[in-house]
């Protein structure tokens, strides 16, 4: 017994993120019944892996991200980041990029990127160097003095990524960050994210509704059921660490996306209330 417990604890501390028996139930309000949004769910992310979550709309993907980030509390179960319980506040070392434009319109690109660092007491030189690096890395050098409103949606999302990157997160949570972008921009942003992932060594969890994106970027893809969301399968892609958007032309890419779609089709139909279900 004791041995098993120690072994489990060891496994948990080795895991970068561990999610155990987590559910999320929205309590009943004003006549509406309570909603069981998610789980029970188990998930272990190892250090430096790229994990994507796909699932039908409304399955609780973003809820899962909020829970792991510490933006929401699970109704049951526990979530650990680097061995420590995540409980209702965002731990140090976690960065989040949202789907919505979350750049600050009143700050220049440079001040946007420097936002988090300014609250740490860093020597001015180091602050400038890190901000410059992040701006450079995300290809924003020529726009450092521009305001977000002067940039395209894709560029604004780069600003948000740079703002997160500059804080050197060890876990990066991406909540459909390219959802609002066009297909070409999305593929290119995918390349950026892969580059960032390799360079920083961060663990990444990406929430997406785009199967091709999940198939191209991830080491593993978790496929969720319709609500209440659970993992119905976790698929290993087997890609090498050095990869970019060109893998979309490989046979394996096609196999992975069709596998994802065959898993998701039924679930998506169920999420639509079974309408149009074909025998």
């Amino acid at each position: 017994m004791a041995e098993a417990a120690t072994a489990r604890e060891a496994a948990e501390t080795a895991a970068h993120v561990s999610v155990q028996g987590v559910t999320r139930v929205y309590p009943a309000v004003a006549g509406n019944a309570s909603v069981h949004a998610l789980g029970p769910l188990d998930l272990t992310l190892s250090q430096g892996e790229f994990f994507s979550v796909v699932g039908p709309s409304g399955c609780g993907k973003s809820t899962l991200l909020d829970l792991v980030a510490g933006l929401a509390r699970p109704s049951e179960g526990s979530i650990r980041f680097e061995g420590r319980e995540v409980a209702g506040s965002v731990p140090d070392g976690i960065g989040v990029v949202f789907q919505e434009d979350a750049s600050f319109p009143w700050l220049t690109v440079r001040d946007n990127v420097a936002f988090g660092l300014k609250r740490q007491s860093l020597p001015r030189g180091e602050l400038a160097a890190r901000v410059d690096y992040a701006i450079d890395f995300m290809g924003l050098k020529d726009f450092a003095r521009a305001y977000p409103a002067q940039l395209s949606g894709g560029m604004r999302q780069r600003v948000c990524i740079a703002r997160t990157l500059v804080l050197k997160p060890r876990l990066l949570l991406l909540d459909e960050p390219f959802g609002a972008l066009d297909q070409q921009t999305r593929l290119l942003m995918g390349d950026e994210v892969l580059r960032l992932w390799r360079e920083t060594g961060a663990t990444i969890m990406l929430i997406t509704h785009a199967l091709d994106e999940a198939a191209m970027l991830s080491d593993r893809v978790g496929v969720m059921s319709s609500r209440p969301g659970r993992f119905i399968e976790i698929l290993e892609t087997g890609w090498p660490r050095e990869r970019d958007s060109r893998i979309v032309s490989e046979d394996a890419f096609g196999r992975i996306t069709s596998r994802l779609w065959s898993l998701l089709r039924e679930e998506s139909l169920a999420a639509l209330g079974g309408a149009g279900r074909v025998a």
């Binding site: 989040v96 949202f98 919505e100 434009d101 979350a102 009143w106 936002f115 305001y147 409103a149």
Partner: protein, 250 residues
């Protein structure tokens, strides 16, 4: 043609037409002097120094009413935003506030405060304060929710969140409130002086009117018009600058 130039042309055309109507006699000279003459009157009245004290008194009352309206309006807006139930209860009242002619309370204020500056300040304040409340609420409502998530990811304290996220995000709407408060305080105070006061710009205009003193009346009217328009235009330009960098191209 640049926009400011078109604006200038519109103004010149309006004044030109009025000038023409007055000069040709379409408008009786004793009813209204031509604008150029008004400008001369305005200069004479101002240069005589006879109304300097009145102008300063009006500006002082407007200033106090404005500062009170902005600070109280902002605080009430903050409180209402934090108390959604109270807000839902008073929302219809706020929405219909400007249907109430607040000037009917002016006699009451004179009874309460006496015939001094305070009834005027109260009228200016009452006329302006709700504009600030409404715009404060509007500004806070429009802070994108995702920015609060960003605040939590950056682990900001509550005061830091307000200072670094909520206020800058709501700033354009707050500024609109401030701008309206300037205009409404002016209207409130000058109108109050018009009705009953012993000094001030509105009082001087009303006094001149009652004494058939066209020169003083039109001179001061033109001065007031130009002054208030200039102040508001300046605020408008400043506001546009604030907005421009935040909204260009989106």
């Amino acid at each position: 043609m640049p926009v400011w130039f078109i604006r200038l042309l519109v103004l010149l055309a309006a004044f030109g037409l009025l000038e023409l109507a007055c000069r040709t006699g379409s408008i009786d000279r004793h009813t209204m002097p031509p604008p150029t003459l008004m400008a001369v009157y305005a200069w004479q009245v101002l240069a005589s120094g006879r109304v300097t004290a009145d102008i300063l008194m009006t500006l002082q009352n407007v200033g106090i009413a404005f500062l009170l309206a902005v600070s109280v309006g902002f605080l009430v807006g903050v409180v209402l935003h934090r108390l959604p139930r109270l807000r839902r209860a008073v929302d219809p009242l706020l929405a219909s506030y400007y249907a109430v002619p607040v000037f009917i309370f002016y006699p009451l204020f004179i009874v309460i405060f006496g015939l001094n500056n305070w009834p005027l300040i109260a009228i200016g304040f009452l006329f302006a304060v709700v504009a600030m409340v409404i715009n404060t609420l509007n500004g806070f409502d429009r802070v994108p929710r995702v920015l609060f998530k960003v605040a939590r990811v950056h682990r900001l304290s509550r005061p830091a969140e307000v200072w670094l996220i909520t206020l800058p995000s709501a700033a354009p709407y707050l500024f609109t409130g401030v701008k309206l408060c300037v205009a409404y305080s002016f209207i409130g105070v000058v109108a109050g002086e018009f009705i009953l006061a012993g000094a001030g710009l509105g009082y001087e205009i009303a006094f001149a009117y009652n004494n058939f003193d066209n020169r003083t009346m039109y001179g001061l009217m033109l001065f007031l018009l130009v002054f208030v328009t200039a102040v508001n235009m300046a605020l408008h330009v400043w506001e546009r600058r604030l907005h421009a960098r935040r909204s260009r191209g989106s």
